[in-house]
């Protein structure tokens, strides 16, 4: 009964061959099924496409993207890039897209901050804080967002005074038309400030490295946070003052009906931003709470036993572990917020759906093109997010046996 050590074949061979009736072979079955599926699906797509084409032709609707270069002829109240009535429809796409991005990014930032505060507050040992935070969460996540957008819009409008009775502070004016603030206008010497700012950022980076090194070497802990703040904000400010403040402020002024000059934040933006922030923060708070609770209590005890103070424990032990749990649902919330910003159309904030898939579509009648472009934008955002999420998950997953 000897057994020789078999030579280790390095790689497996292909399947052993037997004659099998093809309908009994799962591999072939799967193949046939998939070919059929592709055929049916392809047929369906062909059906749709050919119908659409013939319908379009029959109704005399021209197709193509030529319309993007035609003059739009309508105004948009808020735009981050140069836009006038004489700009093209293509431009309205950019304007709408940027406005969507603007409200989404600002919404994401605010919702994250508020959500984290609420999530932590929900876990506070102060009963009142945790109850109030729970109250907030339960109220705002259980009411449709559209309703909340209406609410904030009309609440904001009702609460604000007319332009003539504006609330004035620091050269800014708050009224029903929005918040008009002085806009900085750079003068020739202002470039120095930009340079100082750049220096501040590089300095912060260098300082962080140095502080790390020094701590490694001497054990002394350097106040990195405060110093960074000083470098990034203080330094440019200092340069700005020393160089004789080479900047004028373009103050808003009440001329005629409205404030002119300066910059204005319109109430539609404020309402949408508030609603998105408040709504999403409730969900983020729950995510954060779940993440923090997922860190076992033993970790906190071990950190205390080692003498780590509460804040350090939070930064070094709890947050890194909670983040693994928090990040995936958090990215989903970001995605939801971005998609939800399309509700802007209900209150007249000029986002992509409102400006492009709304007015532009209506003026040009190019439904297929406009809607596909709009959907493609949201889809790419979501695909990018998923890619990021997978990458992050891989990078941060706990290493185990």
């Amino acid at each position: 009964m000897a057994s020789d050590t078999n030579p280790n074949s390095s790689s497996p061979p292909s399947e052993p061959e037997h004659k099998i009736k093809f309908w009994n072979d799962p591999g072939k079955r799967a193949l046939i099924f998939q070919v059929l599926l592709v055929l049916v699906l392809g047929g369906f797509v062909w059906f749709i496409v050919s119908n659409t084409l013939s319908n379009l032709e029959q109704r005399g609707i021209t197709t193509g993207f030529d319309f993007l270069s035609q003059e739009a002829g309508f105004g948009i109240p808020l735009s981050l890039v140069e836009y006038t009535e004489a700009s093209s429809y293509g431009r309205t796409f950019i304007v709408g897209l940027l406005n969507t991005v603007l409200v989404s990014v600002l919404g994401i930032i605010a919702a994250t901050i508020l959500g984290f505060i609420l999530g932590v507050a929900r876990l506070s040992d102060n009963w009142l804080i945790s109850r109030l935070s729970a109250l907030y969460i339960e109220i705002f996540r259980n009411i449709p967002l559209l309703l909340q957008i209406f609410f904030w819009y009309f609440a904001v409008l009702r609460a604000l005074p007319s332009p003539r009775e504006s609330i004035e502070f620091l050269g800014s004016f708050l009224n029903i038309r929005g918040l008009s603030m002085p806009a900085p206008v750079a003068e020739p010497g202002f470039n120095l400030v930009w340079i100082a700012f750049a220096v501040g950022i590089v300095g912060t980076w260098a300082m962080t490295k140095w502080a790390h090194k020094r701590q490694d070497a001497t054990g002394k802990i350097f106040p990195v946070g405060w110093t960074s703040l000083g470098l990034i904000i203080g330094l440019p400010l200092l340069v700005f003052l020393l160089s004789g403040a080479p900047m004028t402020l373009d103050y808003p002024e009440l001329r005629g009906f409205n404030f002119r000059g300066g910059m204005t934040i319109i109430p539609e933006f404020v309402a949408l931003w508030l609603a998105l922030t408040i709504y999403t923060a409730a969900f983020i708070a729950e995510t954060v709470r779940g993440g923090i609770l997922s860190v076992p209590h033993g970790q906190l005890e071990a950190a205390s036993a080692l003498g780590l103070p509460k804040t350090r424990t939070l930064r070094l032990i709890v947050i890194p572990q909670a983040m693994r749990v928090i990040i995936p649902p958090l990215t989903n919330q970001y995605l939801n917020l971005t998609k939800n910003s399309s509700l802007a159309t209900a209150i007249g904030y000029p986002d992509l759906v409102s400006v492009f898939a709304g007015t532009t579509l209506n003026q040009t009648g190019q439904a297929i093109e406009v809607i596909s472009m709009t959907m493609a934008v949201y889809l790419s955002l979501s695909v990018l997010t998923s890619i990021f999420m997978n990458w992050y998950n891989k990078r941060k997953s706990l290493i185990e046996r």
């Binding site: 061979p13 052993p16 099998i20 079955r29």
Partner: protein, 254 residues
């Protein structure tokens, strides 16, 4: 009851011929040859990771082998769904973790496959099931859910569930290793009785007492190969290979 595999006159239940299996690039089973006659009781042992589970899972096509042949009751295991179905009806399997269906009662667990696979009327299937539940000594638990039973009871239900399909062979993959010591015995008792009644059995286990009591042959595996194959008395008292000796010394120490 010596080398049964060379005895070709009797009916072969299971036959593995130069069977090989890879997990990706990893060669788990190397040229396995094994013949099991009807009514034979075989115990398989060996160190962890030696491929015992993989081997018996191949026999039931829970894993696919890549080279060589596996024949059960003369039917070759290939991609052919018909053959796989036939073989699964003939082969019962009991797992380490019972794998009872938690959403079904004990009785429902037992009649499910007879009704849906063998197309037996429910009445009849239930009668058979009760018979086997009596055999494993828990007829009174028939209406309970698996979650309400102890581990030993659950494993006995799992055995009864397999028996309800009237298999020709039973495969056991460490049926007692997830159990508390008190419960091991009740399961082994059932298995011993089964063996006495002449069921063909392939059993991966480290319960050497069981091997000594019922096995016709003991197979020792290491590194994906069958290293030694002998009748229990010889196997335990007079192991041939160094590897076997080492293994037995560890088992007995422990």
């Amino acid at each position: 009851m010596t080398d049964a595999a060379s005895n070709t006159g009797e009916q072969l239940m299971i036959e593995l011929r130069d069977m090989n299996k890879w997990y990706g690039e990893f060669h788990v089973l190397k040229n396995i040859n094994l013949k099991v006659k009807k009514g034979e009781r075989i115990v398989i042992c060996g160190p962890s990771g030696s491929g015992k589970s993989t081997m018996i899972r191949c026999i039931n096509r829970l894993e696919e082998h890549q080279r060589g042949d596996i024949l059960v009751n003369g039917v070759p295991l290939t991609h052919d769904i018909k053959n796989i179905e036939t073989i699964r009806k003939d082969v019962g399997m009991v797992f380490q973790h019972f794998n009872l269906f938690p959403h079904l009662t004990v009785l429902e667990n037992c009649v499910l496959a007879p009704i849906w696979v063998k197309k037996i009327p429910r009445k009849e299937a239930e009668a058979t099931a009760m018979k086997y539940l009596e055999r494993v000594k828990i007829p009174e638990q028939a209406k309970k859910y698996p979650g309400q039973l102890s581990g030993g009871q659950q494993q006995r239900v799992a055995i009864a569930r397999s028996l309800c399909m009237n298999p020709d062979v039973m495969l056991f993959d460490e049926p007692t290793s997830a159990l508390d010591p008190e419960m091991i015995k009740e399961v082994l008792d059932v298995m011993i009785e089964l063996a006495r009644e002449g069921m063909t059995m392939l059993c991966v286990t480290h319960e050497m007492g069981f091997a000594k009591t019922v096995a016709d042959r003991v197979i020792f595996m290491a590194d994906g190969q069958i290293v030694e194959e002998n009748e229990p008395h010889e196997f335990f008292n007079n192991p041939q290979h160094e590897r076997t000796k080492l293994f037995l010394s560890q088992i007995i120490d422990h």
